[in-house]
Symmetry: C2
Subunit: 319 residues, 2 copies
């Protein structure tokens, strides 16, 4: 059942012993909204905790390091920033999910109650929930919410960022959010292993179709050489799309078993999900992914061929 | 004489045939504030134009392409985002400067009237001036002002960005600023020549002092190999500072005559201006520059030696 912010706050105020679930491979927005809600509910005297399937990357320590771990039997379970239950990873099926607070229009409505708004970050919605709960936003809550806002919008860069996103950021800074430090940790702190991998990745970049397609390939050998790993490739995919004239940017990663996975990034002119779908994958119009049973070079060949068809089809349509 | 926003607007309302000067090597903030002011004054029926010493990079076309060029004898001259007259480049000394609107605390008060506020972007101040002039901000003015805000704050990333910066951005988006497109043009559009230069620059990066100092060297040969030039090195300097553990990031560029110029970037722990000053240069605490009569390798040696002294001095002080 879909609910609004007011109903969401009313329901939460009646609950206690609340478990908050974030999605697996947790990022700044799921963690920021989860810990912000947890802190707000604790301020209201409730017993509350945040749970994830995976380890939380070290850079997010400040979101929760002052919260003492607590064990309790949950009476109510809230998922935040989780569009489908399989995104819970190993926690899928572990709990009955009473409520979901999310910003993905693809949400499958798996929870009893769903608060859904199509905003650029779950934290933008969580700001409204916490305000509605009647909790004054302190510095710690502000840091959590600002973290989600900035990470899910590429530091307020993406076209999806709205005037309200900026307004929420302003209010969070007024409440003490340490925007300078958070952005430095999130956007200006490459590990040495990542910096090495990035160099090799850029060296591997090849152009096709009159330089309208750029492809980076990352091999297991490159992880070995740099001391890096697949977790660090997240920041590589956007690099392909940043180059003048490139309409389709592809990053192909070799998996340990020799198969490959491709991340596709496009601008408005090309539908990335359409390309991914040709290989059994999917995603968003400007960011999608698919898998291949073959190695990276063969995957590249297959993808580049379809890129050519896609770009030519469009040219023909425009004529 | 220092004036406030109200006085500034009162004076401008009485003037006509106004020439607006931006600084040489114009960037998004000087152009954005210049063309925003020009558009606002034109909306008030005044004759007005913007002049620069140098060519305006193509990516800023949208700031002014719909403004018909006009020739007139100026009765009033306003410099925007110009801290000292030598920043006017070849236009220095060409005009008597009646007014200056600026955000650099280092402004030398060369104009008859100075409106100065220590805000992250001149456009943040210009927003207040235009509002005080009684001009409704239209889409074109909003695009100009947003451009300055986002470029001078590294897309709202730098620690200097305040709640008011975000609030101003929100208001500009409400007025029609095309934030997504502007940020894409400013931050996600590397030329192919720049992309090639960046790769060579990253390849040249060396670490010193337990990897607390990172140095990039760019030679004339590298410009030749990549088809790039010195104008494109602006985006290289911040790369050095982004790596985990690096406290001093240095980019040394070889000049056509074989001498070199170093750009120094630091975080709060080290004063970049102090280091630059040892070699007759200067700048801000976190961004400074200096010149050398020697080549890039010798310059690197000299700088790295002083970096070692600076870092050790600080360690000793802390003991």
């Amino acid at each position: 059942m879909k609910i609004n912010v007011k109903q969401c706050a009313e329901i939460l105020l009646k609950q206690d012993n609340i478990l908050i679930l974030t999605h697996a491979h947790p990022d700044g927005d799921t963690l920021g909204s989860g810990f912000a809600l947890c802190r707000a509910l604790m301020r209201l005297g409730k017993i509350c905790s945040v749970v994830n399937a995976d380890e939380i990357p070290k850079k997010y320590d400040y979101l929760y390091e002052d919260i003492a771990p607590i064990r309790f039997k949950q009476d109510y379970v809230v998922a935040v920033d989780v569009a489908t239950t399989n995104l819970l990873g190993s926690l899928e099926g572990e709990y009955h999910i009473d409520m979901c607070i999310d910003h993905h229009s693809t949400n499958t409505e798996y929870a009893d109650y769903l608060l859904l708004e199509d905003v650029p970050a779950a934290c933008q919605l969580m700001y409204k929930v916490i305000t509605e709960l009647g909790v004054d936003i302190d510095k710690e809550i502000a840091n959590c919410l600002y973290t989600g806002l900035t990470t899910d919008t590429g530091c307020f860069r993406y076209a999806s960022t709205t005037a309200d996103t900026y307004r929420t950021a302003a209010q969070l800074i007024d409440c003490g959010a340490d925007n300078g430090r958070i952005n430095r940790v999130m956007f200006e702190n490459k590990t040495k292993t990542y910096a090495r991998l990035e160099r090799l990745a850029l060296d591997s970049m090849r152009f096709y179709e009159n330089e309208r397609v750029a492809v980076i390939t990352i091999t297991q050998e490159m992880y070995k050489l740099t001391g890096s790993n697949e977790q660090e490739t997240e920041a590589i995919a956007p690099l392909t799309r940043q180059i003048e004239g490139v309409e389709i940017g592809i990053t192909i990663r070799e998996k340990p078993d020799g198969t490959s996975k491709a991340s596709i990034r496009t601008f408005e002119t090309v539908n990335a999900a359409q390309l991914a779908k040709m290989f059994g994958g999917g995603g968003h119009p400007q960011a999608a992914a698919c898998r291949f049973d073959c190695g990276v070079r063969e995957a590249r060949e297959k993808l580049v061929e379809k890129c050519g068809e896609l770009l030519n089809d469009r040219n023909n349509m425009c004529e």
